[in-house]
């Protein structure tokens, strides 16, 4: 018997173990309850029926095989004899499968209570409509949780939870126990452990909903993060960590403190700890070469950076707050200290024009000497999406933007067709310069759908 069995819902493309269930399990344990994790998503990652149902929103090729696979997994879930099954919904691409999974659990075990949570319970970004209430009315679930689940999961198990859209952000992340991964099947993942050092973001970028959802940037002390890494690595014999944070160097004080502890540990350790995460470039006066060196000694191997656009004027409008010189300085330091990086890019921002696209090309040319060894990837997103609640969304009327049905489908100073054209142009240009431009299945599907919008 287990109080809560957490289940990840297909389809999410990731090779990293999810962090949230382990955090909630440790929270349950600290309060005298029990929890375990079953990674349904990962078990069916190669099953085309699931991709077809969840992403393409179509009927699976083989419905009976699909049915028997789901029943087999639900039976496995029920073999834990859980009082509650907590479905972890990572993105909007898990929504269709979540509803179906609820139907299976309800029909196979009507007495098992269902809890829904995770960012995918909202549609259209973190500030979009929350589906919990609607699904509860359809009897698909008993409880739903908006945003952070640490306290609600305790309330639910104790029978003291009210389903509501309002939530209060946790301000002290250091008060929680270390995540418990003991029920994870590590053979399902790349050999790395997720870790969370902060929530929220220090920037207020116009296109982003992180700072709208998380009102404050809250972070753990550097020492606490480093201690968790040292403990988890020894416990699981895994020495590489992936940060789930929106940025790992939001607080330079905590960042340097963490690096100092890890660098000292690595100095004498037989197996060194390494880590990667999302990062912001800072000017030299905020992040010196010394700090870059300390980062490398502490085990930083790879950074994923939301550069977004290589035109300074576009980035200024976005409120990114770093210059092209800061980018060059950052990439230079990465190369010097053997750290690799992926650039995350947005094409077709509201102020993008033919001229800013040319500026991007010039900067790609300038940085091409770092590709593909230091800049190991340039992820060119699926054109600008105007997400609900973001500054861009609020400014859209003033900017003369006409919004369509999808977040990417809007008309302003450019059309979707033009933006898709710019995207193709930049992908080809970058590829010719020697950059690796990865495109995952999720992006391909969205682009395919957007092209359909254009020609419909």
């Amino acid at each position: 018997m287990v109080d809560v069995l957490f289940v990840s819902v297909p389809v999410t493309f990731t090779n990293t173990a999810p962090a949230a269930p382990a955090i909630l399990i440790s929270m349950l344990q600290q309060h005298g309850h029990t929890g375990k994790f079953y990674d349904f998503n990962r078990h069916v990652k190669d099953d085309e029926n699931f991709k077809r149902y969840a992403i393409a929103e179509a009927t699976p090729e083989d419905v009976l095989e699909f049915d028997s696979t789901i029943k087999m997994h639900v039976r496995k879930m029920l073999s834990f004899n859980p009082k509650f099954i907590g479905l972890s919904i990572f993105s909007y691409q898990c929504q269709r499968m979540t509803k179906l999974l609820c139907v299976y659990i309800r029909t196979m075990s009507p007495n098992t209570k269902i809890i829904l949570g995770g960012p995918g319970l909202n549609t259209g970004g973190l500030q979009g409509e929350n589906l919990g209430e609607t699904w509860q009315a359809q009897e698909l679930c008993d409880h739903w949780v908006v945003s952070e689940g640490e306290w609600p999961i305790i309330d639910i198990v104790r029978g003291d939870h009210n389903n509501k859209k309002e939530w209060t952000q946790i301000e002290n992340l250091d008060e929680f126990p270390i995540p418990d991964y003991s029920s994870y099947d590590w053979s399902l993942y790349d050999k790395q452990i997720p870790i969370t050092g902060s929530r929220g973001c220090v920037r207020r970028c116009t296109f982003c909903d992180i700072h709208v959802h998380w009102k404050k940037f809250v972070f753990r002390s550097g020492k606490s993060i480093a201690n968790e890494m040292m403990l988890q690595s020894e416990k699981h014999n895994l020495y590489h960590f992936v940060f789930t944070d929106s940025l790992i160097n939001g607080s330079m004080k905590a960042y340097k403190e963490m690096c100092a502890v890890l660098a000292e540990y690595n100095h004498t350790a037989t197996t060194k700890i390494t880590w990667e995460g999302q990062f912001i470039f800072r000017p030299q006066n905020q992040m010196s070469e010394e700090t870059w060196k300390l980062s490398a000694d502490a085990g930083l191997t790879h950074v994923t950076i939301g550069i977004e656009n290589l035109s300074e004027s576009v980035r200024d409008h976005m409120q990114k707050k770093f210059s092209n010189e800061d980018i060059i300085y950052g990439v230079h330091c990465m190369q010097k200290f053997g750290i690799t990086g992926t650039f995350l890019m947005i094409v077709g921002y509201i102020t993008d024009t033919e001229s800013t696209i040319q500026e991007n090309k010039m900067m790609y040319q300038r940085l091409s000497k770092y590709a593909p060894d230091t800049i190991t990837g340039v992820a060119i997103g699926t054109t600008l999406a105007i997400l609900p609640g973001t500054p861009l969304d609020k400014m859209s009327e003033e900017l003369g933007i006409i919004k369509g049905k999808r977040e990417n489908d809007w008309i302003g100073s450019s059309t979707l067709n033009q933006r898709l054209q710019w995207r193709r142009e930049l992908i080809n240009y970058c590829s010719r310069l020697g950059y690796v431009v990865p495109e995952n299945e999720e992006q391909q599907t969205l682009i395919h759908n957007l092209e359909d919008v254009q020609y419909a």
């Binding site: 419905v63 609820c102 359809q138």
Partner: protein
């Protein structure tokens, strides 16, 4: 027994028709033209019967002008909320049956599977 909620549109022409779903029965001429919501009970492994009645054969119940029906006493299923699934008018058109009832004593059925086979049925109709 689970409860279902159904939204029915009653089209008026010389009054409104009667309609029956399982034990729920709406007498003819008791409702004004428009959409009305009702509750009824159903069971897994059984069929739900939908039937319109109280429509005459006469020209008064269906007005035809220049070969086109311009007014018709009819009932259309707009939405059906069963346990776990909400079926809209377009779901009926695509996966279940024509939701427009225009003939007297016209019957249509939803054959609900038992709980064990319900998910496969759900996959088929909830797309």
């Amino acid at each position: 027994m689970p409860k279902a909620t159904v939204d029915l549109y009653f089209g008026e022409c010389n009054g409104t028709a009667g309609f029956k779903i399982n034990q729920l029965e709406i007498e003819p001429n008791t409702l004004a033209q428009g959409t009305h919501t009702f509750e009824f009970e159903y069971n897994y492994g059984e069929s739900i019967e939908f039937m319109m009645f109280g429509k005459g054969q006469s020209y008064r119940d269906t007005v035809i002008e220049q070969g086109q029906i311009t007014q018709d006493k009819h009932v259309s299923v707009m939405q059906l909320k069963l346990q776990y699934v909400t079926l809209e008018n377009w779901h009926f058109h695509n996966f279940i049956f024509d939701p427009y009832f225009g003939f007297d004593r016209e019957k249509r059925y939803i054959h609900l599977p038992d709980r064990k086979d319900f998910p496969v049925w759900y996959i088929g109709v909830a797309n």
